[in-house]
Symmetry: C2
Subunit: 402 residues, 2 copies
C-alpha cells in the first residue's frame, strides 16, 4: 500500500454509531478490575463456588455426549435449540407446575442473551420498563443500549411493592415488567405469593408482559419453595432460566419459556445474531440432566451456600455497628446492606480495598439514581474463613467511617 | 388469577418493535426446511462434512481441558476471550503475515456474531455498506436488522471489480466495505492480489474500514495461497475468522482481528449482549490447536473437499447442457452456477425437489435484487456418489426446462 495513503488510516476515527459511543463500560466490570487484587477478600463478584464444579462428572459427560450423539454434537443445529434438550426442559418446567412443551422453549447463550433478545424485540428508544428498585445491573446494561427508560417500584421484605404498580403503568405505559422474583440480585429478597398474584392480576389487566428473570430459584436452602410467576401467570410470563448458577456459567447455557408466538419472534432475531447456542454445550447440559446428575449437584450447592450465608449473617451480627441493616435471603448468592443515609458505599470502596476487602456499591442497581448508602455482598465465591475475616474488616471500616 | 383478567392476556398482541416485526425469516433456513426431506440429495446447506469431525480427538481434548484448567474451564471469563487462546490466535495470525497481539483479538460466538457486532457498532438506519454482488446472505440478514442499504460492486473471476469502488464510495458514502475475499460464499471466487491492493488503496484514501469475512482461507486445496487483506492492509482491515469450517461449527467459536480501539468498542457492546463466548468451548479450541491437531485436521478436510469438488466439476462437464456456466473454486465449500438469463432457479426449485435434488437459488445473495438465473451448490456435505447422482438429476431437470 502507498505509505501516504496508509497514514490516513485511523480506526479511532471510524464513525461508531451514537448508541454505542454513549454506552458506558460495565460498572461492575470496572469494580471487579479494582477488587481482583492479590490478597483482597472479595464479596464483589457473582461467581459460583469453583470448588463445587463437578469436574470428574463433566469429563465423563463430555465423553458420553460424543459417544452417543457423534457428529451431531459438533454440527450446526436449530436456532431454537436442540430438540431433546428443549423437550427435557419442557418436562422439567411441567413437573414444576408450568405446563410447557418444546415449542415454548428457546435455548439462549446464558440469561444475559435472553435479556438482550427481549430488549431487542420489545424496546424502542424512550420506551419505559417497569422494574424493582433496585434491580439487576446486567439487565439495565442490556436495556440501556436500546435507550429504555425506567419506571421503578420500591421493595420491602416481601419484594416489589405491587400496590404501586398500577399507577406506574397508567403514568408511564411501560412495554414490560422486569422482575427478579426469587433471591433477587442485588437484594436477595423473594417476592411473596400474595404479591406475585397481585402483580399478575394488574399486568393481565393491561396485557403487559411480565419477565421473570429467574436464575436462582433452584438454590433455595431454607424456607418453603413458592409457586413461580410462570406457573401462576401462564402466557403472561416470559421466564428466563440458566445453568450458570447450578452447573457452570462458563458453558453459557440458559433458556426462555414463553408463548410460541413470542418464541418465534425471538428465534427470527436469533438467526441474525449468532445462529444458535453451542450445540456441544447444549448436549452437555442435556446429558448431565438426563443422567440425573443435576439434582444432586444442586443439593451440594445448597449445603455449601447455606453454610456460607449463615457464616456471613452470624459475622455481621457479631461485628457490625448499629445503624446498618441487612437482608436474610433464603437462597441465591447475595446479601444487601443498607448503611446510614449519610454514608456513601461508593466513597468507602477505595478505603475498603486498602484494607483488602471488596464489595459492589449499590448505586448502579438503581436505574433512576439513589442507593448511595447500599452495598451488595456475595457469599458463594468466598471461603468460610474469608467470610469471617472479610466481614470483620468491613465492620471495622464502617466503625471508623460512620 | 381472575379468569376474566386472564382472558385479556394475548402475547400475539404484545407490541413488537418495528425493526423486528419487519424482519424476514431466513430465506436459507426456509429453503433448508423444504430441502431436508428424506431421499433428497442436497447441495443446499453450508455444512462441513460430518464424517470428518475428529470425534476421538475431541473426547480426549475435553478430558485434557478439564484436567489441565480445572474449574477455570467452567467459570465466567473475560468478554474479550480467554487470554491463552487470544495469545495463540495472535501468534498464528503473526506467523501468517499479520503482526498481531492478544489486544487485537476478540473471541466471538461464531462469525455470525462478529458480523452482528460490526453492524451494531457501525451501522445507523439508512447507512450504506459496500459489498460484492452477490454476497453472503447471512451478513445481509445481520445488516438488514439495522436497516442498512447496499451499494454493490459486480464480480468477475478475479473477485470484486475494484475499479468501480471509488465511484461507489463517492456516490453513497458507505460506512464500511464488506468482502468475502477467499472462496466467497456464494460464488467460490477468490479476490486476486492486484485487486486486494487496489481495494485497500482506495479504502485507505477514505479511511474506510474493510471487513474481510474470511472463514474459508485455510481450506485451499489447489493453487497458491495469497496474502490476506489483513496482512496487506493492517489497521484498515477487520478480519473475521472461525473454527466452524476447520474444527466444528457446533462449538460456535470465531474471532475478530482489529485495531485495539475497535476491539474495545466491540468488547463494550459484547458485555451487554451475552457477556462472553463459552469458556469451555474456547479452551477446547485452544487445547486442540496448541496440541498441534488443527493442521492435520485441515489437511484431511482439504483432501476430502478437493475430491468432492473435483467430482462435482467433472460431473457438471459430463452432464450439463450448453448455456450454463460455473465457477472453479480453489478452496472453500461452494460452486456457483449461472443459467441462461430466462431461466429462474427459484421457479425450478420445487421441480428439483420432486426429482430429489436441492440447491439454494441465487437471488437472496443479491442485496439489491437480481440473480434469478443463479444457484449455489455446496459440495462439502455430500458423498461422491451423491454428487454424481445429484448433478445428473439437476442436468436432466435443466435440459427439460431450458
Amino acid at each position: 500500500m502507498l505509505v501516504e495513503l496508509m497514514q490516513r488510516v485511523d480506526p479511532g476515527k471510524w464513525p461508531v454509531a451514537p448508541h454505542v459511543r454513549h454506552l458506558e463500560a460495565s460498572i461492575i466490570r470496572e469494580i471487579l478490575k479494582v477488587t481482583s487484587q492479590p490478597g483482597v477478600i472479595s464479596f464483589a463478584g457473582g461467581l459460583p463456588a469453583p470448588e463445587l464444579f463437578p469436574l470428574d462428572e463433566m469429563t465423563r459427560i463430555a465423553a458420553d455426549v460424543i459417544a452417543k450423539y457423534r457428529s451431531n454434537s459438533l454440527q450446526y443445529s436449530l436456532s431454537q435449540g436442540i430438540t431433546p434438550f428443549r423437550e427435557l426442559l419442557a418436562q422439567r418446567e411441567t413437573r414444576e407446575g408450568s405446563p410447557t412443551t418444546a415449542d415454548n422453549i428457546l435455548v439462549t447463550s446464558g440469561s444475559q442473551q435472553a435479556i438482550e433478545l427481549l430488549a431487542r424485540t420489545f424496546i424502542d428508544p424512550g420506551d419505559y420498563i417497569l422494574t424493582e428498585n433496585p434491580t439487576y445491573v446486567g439487565a439495565l446494561q442490556a436495556f440501556n443500549y436500546y435507550r429504555a427508560r425506567y419506571c421503578t417500584v420500591p421493595m420491602d421484605d416481601q419484594g416489589m411493592m405491587v400496590d404501586q404498580v398500577e399507577e406506574c403503568i397508567r403514568k408511564y405505559k411501560p412495554k414490560l415488567v422486569y422482575t427478579v422474583s426469587n433471591f433477587q440480585n442485588p437484594t436477595g429478597i423473594t417476592m411473596s405469593v400474595a404479591r406475585r398474584e397481585e402483580l399478575l392480576n394488574v399486568a393481565a389487566k393491561y396485557n403487559l408482559p411480565v419477565v421473570d428473570d429467574n436464575p436462582y430459584s433452584e438454590i433455595r436452602f431454607t424456607g418453603q419453595p413458592l409457586p413461580s410467576l410462570k406457573s401462576l401467570g401462564g402466557d403472561l410470563v416470559v421466564s428466563l432460566r440458566t445453568y450458570s448458577k447450578t452447573l457452570a456459567p462458563g458453558l453459557r447455557i440458559g433458556w426462555m419459556n414463553a408463548h410460541p408466538s413470542i418464541i418465534n419472534q425471538f428465534e427470527k432475531v436469533r438467526q441474525c445474531v449468532d445462529l444458535h447456542t453451542s450445540t456441544f454445550g447444549q448436549f452437555l447440559c442435556y446429558e448431565y440432566t438426563a443422567q440425573g446428575l443435576l439434582e444432586p449437584q444442586i443439593e451440594r450447592l445448597k449445603v455449601d451456600y447455606r453454610h456460607k450465608r449463615q457464616a456471613m449473617l452470624q459475622r455481621l451480627e457479631e461485628t457490625f455497628p448499629d445503624g446498618v441493616k441487612w437482608t436474610r435471603p433464603e437462597g441465591g448468592m447475595f446479601l444487601w446492606l443498607t448503611l446510614p443515609e449519610h454514608v456513601s458505599a461508593k466513597a468507602l470502596l477505595p478505603k475498603a480495598i486498602e484494607r483488602k476487602v471488596a464489595y459492589v456499591y449499590g448505586s448502579p442497581f438503581f436505574p433512576n439514581g439513589g442507593g448511595d448508602n447500599c452495598m451488595r455482598l456475595n457469599y458463594s465465591n468466598a471461603t468460610i474463613e474469608g467470610i469471617r475475616e472479610g466481614i470483620a474488616r468491613l465492620a471495622q471500616l464502617l466503625k471508623d467511617n460512620m
